[in-house]
Symmetry: C3
Subunit: 355 residues, 3 copies
């Protein structure tokens, strides 16, 4: 199995499927990149220098000087160009080498690759695939991140697993079992699913069967709830993978969601067995002004604890995959199999060597 | 040599020989595993969950949930079953999956492998080979570990080497040279050996040629000795590999041993180039009650120092093996060559790929 | 490219070229090795034990006991021999095994390899190639290291890169750009080069275009200088690779150099992608006695900062090489291409496997 990348169910091993690069992927937060500075980031093993010139938009270059392949992100921003820190070779927005300090202008060497780049909602996106397709592929909608009715938490971290584990983790709400210490006993009820060529959606409701409502949840719902039947199965949680992004919304009685999460898992290494998470978690503001601000630190701590449990378990899944040399997932929940098919269908299968 | 696993002497490379799994191997200490708990351990790359239910005997399962291969040892013990921490799949003593909380009982998925498991003398043993053979293979005799005439130290640690280096280290008492700082100058005399299909035994006596008797030794012998001829070559040290275990006994004039060690080196990783040591070191109680208890901390410190020197050197042997890509041991001591043959004969040679 | 070791320019990949072992390479500092002691060192993956007996010259043995391949440098020096720490096998200056304490003298086993060894200028050199050539290959001249007119700093450290990156770094003075923070803006002028079968030389002068003269430079030149034309391009810096060593000299108006550096980069691992630097930096003593001693700590700190910047950048080059699977250097400076040809020509190309 490790050899041909196929898993026991005859499909290509999901953990070997690469993300389709012909989408917009965030690779940095706007606040990380000051005017006149450059930072280094990655997409699937490709080093990328993000440059914010003194004037104008952010741009993205291959993060390797054409001369000696050292990171341009260690260099200096001068006007609309970036100078390599080593011998001072300079590159403009187009990636062209525009100056070698000790060489005549007539014979400038080749430059470096550029990436289409956009900045929106506090995120810096690049398009790592075919640049000719970038204009025709829309940026994702970032849910409520810019809606004044909501307060949004921007969060991110690195997780040592293939992005598919993250999609499966979030969509399979039976894993509430794992968060019992944080959330109390919650019985999920699967309400149904929806499927489209590049989308899978699952809907759930919940009933608390034991334990008190945690404070984090109180903040999200804006109300204190007991375990009575009154609240059981009242809210609908809708989790959707719209390739390659994922969202989770909680709504009550058809009202606008009390919580709206947009999240994406950007491959870091070439094998795509590690990812960087970019998440936007929007909470609907309650009528009482300032209440959400006051409660915010508790919400942050609550979601952090949940996320840490999720990260630990997906990293254990990835570790088992490494040890076993392939995916042995024995899935019994149909919507997760639909999701797995979607990720296989929309991703890029590894190229096999001829025998 | 690295390619075909054969060493310069034409034999299969001893450091590539795997332990025969059709023996009982300890994988944990009884005191590590509380009632109603589970812990994760390993045999030769196989993760094993040891479970001590609220009632009844310890049992041992493959430490990977059938669903997503995460460790069952991270889960919860409920009655006589263990629930996976992630989605709550439950497994009984037989390894069968007995519950998936969100699935009808009619269509339960496959379970996990179990290991025959026994608990004796403070050790938890599993039988990693063919389970049908377990009943006919006896548990090892643990020397004086349960004899009230003796006080037993239970010790263990991980050593980064193939188990064969450990057997050779203990049996070749010419390595007393290395412990000179701890023990003073001791001249070993080889008294002879014994050999059977699954056993090799070497016998030695010693004479102190320089330095004082260390306190640790005084405790073991229960008497203070000078370097006079009176004590030279009086005690017989018998070291025996009874596959896959090893023992070392020191006796004076045919009396019951003053020291009796039972020890085994359990492979940890799949290549078996690391091992976990489980040792039972029994010291005969002196007539003076309480004396051994008082001296115990000194004995512990003394044996720890000796063991640390042994560990450092076998890890250097293993490192040289890695760098050289194979075993270059040039052995001149016949009993060690007998031992090497035994470990090859009783172990499992690596399967070679057809050319 | 990673496969056949050839780079994009059709040459063998420079970073896969091994150092020619038929030269004298330093592997230790004299002060590291006390009388009656032994230390372990390396050349290109070969472990070497340097032994300084109670009397007579240092000698160098393969640092693996013939018995069990553990380092002899962990052993004890006895007269003119070294005893392995494990079972006491002893080896003389010739590498022959001269004693196994528990074996008759008639049947002593094979010994270990020796290396021709010389000690000069505070350095211990070995000749890792064909020992028959050692006598005919001269030790390098160590510049001013033993000249009382100069004070010499001996420095060394490990750098995680192929030695060729170090040669290129020092010879391409356009990398002054990188040291701008330490040195101020210095415009280099290339004055010309010289080339011989085993030598490449580059000459430069400099003009300060901005910033103050750093104190370190003041110490080297023995005078305070402003940025006026008076000092521009007055000094000549001569950098030479005389295979496998490198030197850098600064002279003013044909006077003896104010600074004279001898340096070599000794491969550590078998792939030669890490090296240990041995450098002798000699500064001409000013007329005012004691002034250089007073200023010395500042000079040390200054050169350390420069060296740290150099080390960081060559390690980034090496890291890019690993990620790209080969050398993508796009060199535009002719003398560096001459240097690269020299290192390829004088070094040892990797042996290719037949297809």
């Amino acid at each position: 199995m490790a050899e041909d990348g196929a898993s026991s169910d005859g499909h290509a091993d999901l953990r070997r499927i690469k993300c389709d690069p012909n989408y917009w992927y965030p690779v940095g937060w706007s606040h990380e990149l000051k005017r006149g500075k450059t930072i280094g980031t990655r997409y699937a093993g490709q080093p990328i220098a993000l440059v914010r010139p003194q004037e104008g938009e952010v741009f993205a270059l291959e993060d390797r000087c054409a001369h000696r392949q050292v990171p341009l992100s260690k260099g200096r921003v001068e006007g609309e160009s970036v100078q390599c820190c080593y011998h001072g070779w300079a590159y403009g927005r187009s990636g062209r080498c525009i100056d070698v300090p000790y060489l005549g202008k007539g014979k400038l060497p080749n430059g470096v690759r550029t990436y289409p780049c956009r900045e929106v909602g506090g995120l810096i996106f690049v398009f790592p695939g075919d640049p000719d397709l970038a204009a025709s592929v829309p940026l994702p909608s970032l849910a409520r991140a810019e809606d004044p009715e909501y307060k949004t938490r921007r969060f991110g971290r690195h997780v040592d697993c293939h992005y598919s584990f993250m999609h499966e983790n979030l969509m399979d709400m039976n894993h509430q079992f794992m968060h019992m210490k944080q959330m109390g006993k919650m019985k999920p009820r699967f309400l149904g699913n929806d499927i489209q060529p590049a989308m899978v959606e699952a809907r759930y409701s919940f009933a608390r069967t034991d334990g008190k409502q945690p404070w984090g949840e109180t903040i999200i719902f804006g109300q204190r709830r007991d375990n009575s039947a009154k609240y059981a199965h009242r809210d609908v949680m809708t989790i959707r993978t719209e390739y390659p992004y994922q969202t989770l919304r909680i709504s009550t009685d058809g009202a606008p969601p009390v919580m709206d999460l947009w999240i994406v898992y950007v491959p870091q290494d070439e094998a795509q067995l590690t990812c960087r998470v970019f998440g936007l978690l929007s909470i609907r503001r309650p009528k009482l002004k300032g209440a959400l601000e006051l409660a915010w630190p508790f919400l942050v701590a609550f979601t952090e604890r949940i996320f840490r449990e999720d990260r630990d378990i997906v990293e254990l899944e990835q570790q088992a995959w490494r040890e076993l040399g392939g995916d042995h997932n024995q899935e019994v929940f149909p919507v997760i199999n639909m999701l797995r098919d979607l990720l296989r269908r929309c991703g890029v299968a590894p190229v096999h060597e001829a025998s």
